[in-house]
Symmetry: C2
Subunit: 557 residues, 2 copies
Amino acid sequence: MENQPTGSPPLRIVVIGGVAGGASAATRARRADACAEIVVLEKGQYVSFANCGLPYHLSGEIESRDDLLVTTAELFWKRFRIDVRTGHEVTRIDRDGCFVEGTDHSSGKSFRIPYDRLILSTGSAPVSPPFMQPPCENVRHLWTLPDMDAVISQLRDHAVKRAVIIGAGFVGLEVVEQLAHVGIRVALVERGDQVLKPLDRHLARIIERDMADRGVSLHLSADVTGLRRDGDRATAVELADGTVLETDLVVVGAGVRPRVDLAVAAGLPVGPSGGLVVDRQMRTEDPKIYAVGDMVECHHGVLDRPLRIPLAGPANRAGRIAGTHAALGESQPMGSVLGTSVVRVFDLTAACTGMSEAALDANGIAHRSVIIAAGHHAGYYPGAETMQLKVVYSPTDGKLLGAQGVGGQGVDKRIDVIATAMHFGGTIHDLAQLDLAYAPPFASAKDPVHMAAFVAENDLESHPGIVAPGIDLAGFQVVDVRNPRELVDLPLEGAISIPLDELADRWQELDPNLPTITVCHSGKRGHVAACWLRGKGWRDVRNLTGGMAIRMLERES
Amino acid sequence: MENQPTGSPPLRIVVIGGVAGGASAATRARRADACAEIVVLEKGQYVSFANCGLPYHLSGEIESRDDLLVTTAELFWKRFRIDVRTGHEVTRIDRDGCFVEGTDHSSGKSFRIPYDRLILSTGSAPVSPPFMQPPCENVRHLWTLPDMDAVISQLRDHAVKRAVIIGAGFVGLEVVEQLAHVGIRVALVERGDQVLKPLDRHLARIIERDMADRGVSLHLSADVTGLRRDGDRATAVELADGTVLETDLVVVGAGVRPRVDLAVAAGLPVGPSGGLVVDRQMRTEDPKIYAVGDMVECHHGVLDRPLRIPLAGPANRAGRIAGTHAALGESQPMGSVLGTSVVRVFDLTAACTGMSEAALDANGIAHRSVIIAAGHHAGYYPGAETMQLKVVYSPTDGKLLGAQGVGGQGVDKRIDVIATAMHFGGTIHDLAQLDLAYAPPFASAKDPVHMAAFVAENDLESHPGIVAPGIDLAGFQVVDVRNPRELVDLPLEGAISIPLDELADRWQELDPNLPTITVCHSGKRGHVAACWLRGKGWRDVRNLTGGMAIRMLERES
């Protein structure tokens, strides 16, 4: 692992695009090779900016715009001798001649730059639905710094009182939160039937209910048919069901598409999910050309096939690998990606890794799952915040397929722990035996991760099994082991009520020959009850996972 | 996995000791076998209490004493039909006759109880140094609820203004914090030369400095030679160096010893670290007798041999395994234990997993390490708190041997993630490729775990290497790449000052033939500088890991 011998000309590494892994690739290449000529060609004004931070400047939570400028062309030169050229749009890659050509928008001149190694980091672009044509000054994406500046000038100059956010993905929810924080009445419009598609519906419902409680107007399964306009301003958003949402501002987050035109024109192949095909060293089919970030397909750890996963973490790690390999000809391989994500929405955190049950169903992969409710630290220590933690696993061997959490503090920790176990192909049995840090302010001796794994182990070993939150209870003997006062707020019709602490005295009131389901609020007492009945010789008794708390969410229309 | 056939007499499972895994074993046995007779014999008054929560009731942070009573004998009967007998001290196990005998302290009568399966959970007892004899009413352990009650009655009845805590382990530091919170002047006395022995010294120093800044009087490498007494009260603690610490209260946390007398008397073997020998199903040499908790040796994941690891998490997990196996004759195996721990001390969190460098040295295991400083979330999002994260790994293959973190929020998450990777025998390369959740309020696109792994990968691949915080810099060309204003507060004599952003212009001022060490504040810029020089063909250039921030702590006497 040496640099080229003294005397040979320096390697010329050209990077197209600073964001989404390009800057990371360039600095890493520099660390690996102090003599290489490294050029970054960036179409926009900024070599790198904190795109994940844009929503937080809308409300002033991130006070200074400068904080979003992660680095500058000047610093790149001073510190790394990396030659950043902004306003340089590459229009063609010549693979035979090993050069790129394009236009310098600052001078209007064209340029041609040779490369020994080329790293593509052209990222992705937000999808513009038809209603965005012709453009309105108050209908915007939030994808770049200029996008953000445009939204902020709307907020500042137009006394925005109402806003419509279109698209309930991560960025959409962050914008909802930030605009609500500054007193704007927000409506959220989403084509799908839930927010946060990577989550299964019952967990997404928790976020939806909380937003609704905070006055956000939620429109799910809603198609935007058009805008009402007044000159170059939109005044309302029209939905297919006839709803008209009057508004002063529209922010559109309707998904992204990879920017692969340049690469495709150069004959580089694109995979089934629309991203460029690369190997574990981020090399395209052309061994001199690498690609990273939103524009490529990474290896998905659960699906075990390439998939486009447009997230900042994998983009950065891929940049490091591409930069190293471009400079040295070798590198560690890129790891599998699980789509691990997290978002804060008001006081709630939602996070996930791997695949949801809905996504597994869509891919024909068998799965089981458990949902538990648990405090983020010991219940006896003040301030424990409840989380719902769902773990999805293979019915054959308990291999982890995914996890989702919604709650207060500590959700991100549990999802990161499970994502780490999934990196190693771990099972629910591994989760059950993890040696995690415990002290009352941080966790419980049995962490939520352990608790979920224990329930999953019980399920797989059928002592006793569980049933899914949405199950139709008709035809079952349903034993509700909640306390009488819990039934007042949330009754369960047709169930036989025997509080858990009376079950040992009263279980003989039940019919051991009927298929039976036990139910409590969160699933914990129901499990104890199911164990008891099964232990008494009952053949067919199962527990409702997640309890009434989750069932209620699942069955909301 | 069936219960015994109908008609056969129920299995009788006897558990000795409720805390430290015993209650967990009993409830788990009940879930596995609804018909078993399960008896818990507990010497004390409480079947189970939150021993890790005791320090937090001293200050009232945990308001109600009742919150510490995790469960009660009454609930155990009502819910689980588990027969808890408090005040029952077992004095002998008869393995041939399969019974235990002892004294019921409430009635004064002796008892004899047969068992089919016996689960030992007798825990550990705090060590009482010689000066605790004869006892003083204001010199106390903090191990049981009665201990806590005694300390609280001191606080309440004796206007305690000064306290001496003896022993700077986890509990000792929690007590320091809690007593300081209620305005008591606290002195902390420790025989070793640092607090929190599981941490390496430089990280422990961060906690020590913070405590000192808060007015805690710290006495390290200090032996207690005796107490000054006034009747049955201590008035001062005398140290070997002649220091006399006047005090109103002494809390002693001088380590624990396993309670194995009963088991040893029954002929069950004890391992080299003093705990009972058990297999992965928590069975002792006698297949009818299980043992869990502080009294046993678990398999240590790094040392790959049995070791006593008295922590609540492993005790609970072991209880679950023993209870299952006792009831069913089969269970998942107990996982390896890494000693993962966490403690909050004022606004700082300290956490660790696996082994420190000091412990590895003591065991003759080769290791390397890196230390990084990083924010717990994106720097551009407000409120990022700094952590020092140390990762220790094998010099041959990068296998993880341990990790330690000290800082504000998020330390526990990173240690749990690394502990999870260690469960699978992971390497620094695994850490570098983990797919962790990122959004600005929670993490950075390159998480502290990634950053530490990247530095470690650089180290192992020698581009460039690193040197340890305590290295003697004499004989090296030391290049200090900090900015001039950083040098004012913390100068580094004998170093050549070239701020990083001038290095690309000025590196030729340096002598490429001298062994060279680069230095900055946290190690990050030093790494960039070392890469630069090495890239210019220098053969011997390394970076000071952790930078001046850690070196300063390491070299404090």
